[in-house]
């Protein structure tokens, strides 16, 4: 069973389109995240939610809108896609938001490869 699963794994779309990436975790964790990995493999946090409440919102264009219908799901909707949005988007989860505390290891999904053409 996949602990953190995200769909789709691959997504090719045209500029200007709107797309969503879905994420689900079956670990019973309270905190979920979206990370972006660019073409140089640099990983950067975008958002985190704890019990459906937004707690981290990095400097991300407001075309990106996360939605957490419940604490096991965190979806990412992207409006008006641009070429620069091409990246791998990782969903992740942890027991709590505090890194380093016992049991708060972040578990990552396998990523969603987004290509904007």
């Amino acid at each position: 069973d996949t602990a953190v699963s995200q769909t789709p794994k691959y997504l090719v779309t045209q500029m200007g389109n709107d797309k969503s990436i879905k994420c689900e975790q079956n670990l019973g964790h309270d905190t979920m995240y979206w990370y972006k990995q660019d073409s140089k493999k640099f990983l950067k946090i975008m958002f985190s939610y704890n019990n459906k409440e937004l707690i981290i919102n990095e400097t991300v264009p407001n075309r990106f809108s996360p939605k957490s219908p419940d604490k096991a799901h965190l979806n990412l909707h992207i409006n008006s896609l641009e070429l620069g949005d091409s990246a791998v988007y990782f969903c992740a989860s942890s027991q709590g938001p505090g890194q380093g505390a016992q049991g708060n290891t972040i578990y990552f999904g396998e990523g969603s490869w987004l290509t904007v053409v």
Binding site: K41, F42, I55, G111
Partner: protein
Amino acid sequence: QQQVKQSPQSLIVQKGGISIINCAYENTAFDYFPWYQQFPGKGPALLIAIRPDVSEKKEGRFTISFNKSAKQFSLHIMDSQPGDSATYFCAASPANAGGTSYGKLTFGQGTILTVHP
């Protein structure tokens, strides 16, 4: 601003050799330092982590050395194996800072390790 600097960008080691990856950080609020391993097509996975109250942590062939005064930490992989070939990321976070940094992992740029048989 890159708060965690990682080197080298790439590393080639012979089987049985020692792989060493270095990281330096700037933010003195960081007090949790994990290393993540990422295989192609997969998400990052926690390898080993350290808190600054110890100078070294060893798990099997993997050792983290930590120098708080220099704000540097490194990963040593002893007896490197071809199966260790992957991208390695150091990271840092404030474990229980509260506020908007709570739970935020800042990653280094990554090191692509290749272990030749």
